[in-house]
Symmetry: C2
Subunit: 297 residues, 2 copies
DNA sequence: CTGTTAGCGCCTTCAC
DNA sequence: GTGAAGGCGCTAACAG
């Protein structure tokens, strides 16, 4: 009867329950950069995995500032989150948060520099290989590689994968890896440059979809038909760029949503006593073939 | 001395404090669509405003599903959030969550259809007017308007603003408002169409930056010089599209981050007893002039 | 099987 | 001034 009376608009107080149970059913997601487009899919994947269970997530954006990060960390711990996911803005290793955190911590995207932490990050070397293997499968032999800032591990690692896959096929990159910035503009300029120096190339592999969009523009300006005359591909599979390109752009998807989901599942399992493990797990990407490398027929 | 001993690694338990205080210092952010690019800046603005104070935010993505939304709502209330921000994916009014929510609720981006709720949303009519006023100030007189889906209030309202500003200047739109989809592809196709029918136009106002990018491509293909021969502008000021365009794209920024900040501030003030108010507040946008409407010199 | 009670960690009050 | 006690809402353990 009491129950019936309260049924109308009664909500149990999770706080009290948490206080008693020693478990809040909450997880902290500490990001260093909401602006960037890599964090969001990861966040979605994590939200997804947790949403099914009964856990809610505290989102904190440290804006790349260590002080703010420490502040948020303290706040999250004082709120007794059951676990923590730390999402970086780049795939370069980042400093470990601290050693004495009383809850499981998973580093996503940006791995921790402490090998005793557990991290999960995209396999960029493999991604570079996959791209080259696809281009070779398309019959391309004279391939140039235009990419972003050398300061980014993602750029260097993809380039490593590119070189190793070429070597494995008995081929060589045309010219050097061209590093500069992650922009369409650089894609346009670099493509003009490489086409002037090496007019006989049959493929341009770009380090990001943005760069690839620039490459497509220049190819069009110079009358090079894509993909018949010149194949173009990118990385990241940023749909707004890839599916609206002329022709639509082949790309390597880093499976970030899955990465977020795995991170969440690992934290979740650790809550139930599973061992979190340590070291860095590399998540393979996925080739998404579109018309910029394979002609429609 | 006890304090000293604990200073090493002691974190006060916010739960216990909250239980006693009747205040958790948490706010729920209920979104219907993390994927979309409008939610993120709002979220950042809110996180920003709250981060300064001591409040943390629970992020819940309902994925546009009402059931899931109700589920999350219950969860958030059971966690005794002090307030709620509901962020929709479109600017079309959405159904009110419920009438009996015991904490302040602010609707952001998608206003509530219940006038007793408080909502804040971009002023799209005014944005349309601002765009036209800018084009007229640039000396344009024969303006076409290509936009997205008619089903979106944002498209219709901007078009209303466009028409009213033209009328106020004694001008008329060239052709009808062209509604279709929010894509580069449509921007390309529609621009080709309108240039064929009305070769004498001197400006194309596009309903989004994506559409505007398509318009720029077609203008280039057809040899129309931008901005001398044809001005092009968009809406949203999506930097990745605007600053990489050839030429860089003039756009109307909806100030979404500010919108998120205001929403957070309103919730925050309501926590301290301030009246939340009701009705819909329309936040004006901001003109960002770039080279697609004003020639560099 | 239903009803009572103790205590989770903190803060505020009141007594000393 | 320092110190003890009560209670926030819940659940687990125990008593009836």
């Amino acid at each position: 009867m009491i129950a019936a009376a309260e049924q109308l608009s009664f909500t149990p107080n999770s706080l009290a329950r948490a206080l008693l149970a020693g478990r809040t059913g909450t997880v902290g997601l500490l990001t260093s950069d909401l602006e960037g487009r890599f964090v969001i899919p990861i966040l979605m994947g994590a939200e997804d995995a947790f949403g099914a269970g009964q856990v809610d997530v505290f989102l904190c954006d440290a804006r790349g500032d260590t002080i703010r990060e420490q502040h948020h960390l303290r706040a999250l711990l004082s709120r007794r989150v059951d676990g923590l996911i730390v999402v970086g803005r780049q795939t370069d290793p980042r400093r470990s948060l601290a050693h004495d955190i009383p809850v499981p911590v998973v580093y996503a995207y940006a791995p921790s520099d402490d090998p005793s932490d557990f991290s999960i990050t995209p396999d960029n070397v493999r991604a570079g290989q996959m791209a080259i293997e696809h281009l070779i499968a398309c019959g391309r032999r004279r391939i140039a590689h235009i990419t972003g800032e050398h300061a980014y591990a993602a750029a260097r690692e993809r380039a490593d994968g590119v070189q190793s896959a070429l070597r494995a096929a008995g081929l060589e990159l045309v010219g050097n890896v061209m590093y500069s910035e992650w922009s369409e503009r650089w894609g346009r300029d670099a493509t003009a440059l490489v086409l002037a120096q090496h007019p006989d190339i049959d493929a341009v592999l770009c380090g990001s979809d943005q760069i690839a969009r620039g490459a497509l523009d220049t190819a069009r300006d110079l009358g090079r038909a894509v993909p018949d005359d010149l194949a173009v591909m990118g990385f990241d599979n940023w749909e707004v760029l890839t599916t609206n390109a002329r022709p639509e752009l082949t790309s390597i998807d880093a499976n970030l949503q899955q990465l977020g989901r795995i991170a969440a599942e690992r934290v979740f399992a650790a809550l139930d006593g599973a061992d979190l493990g340590s070291g860095t797990q590399y998540l393979p990407g996925r080739l998404v073939i579109r018309a910029s490398t394979v002609a429609r027929r």
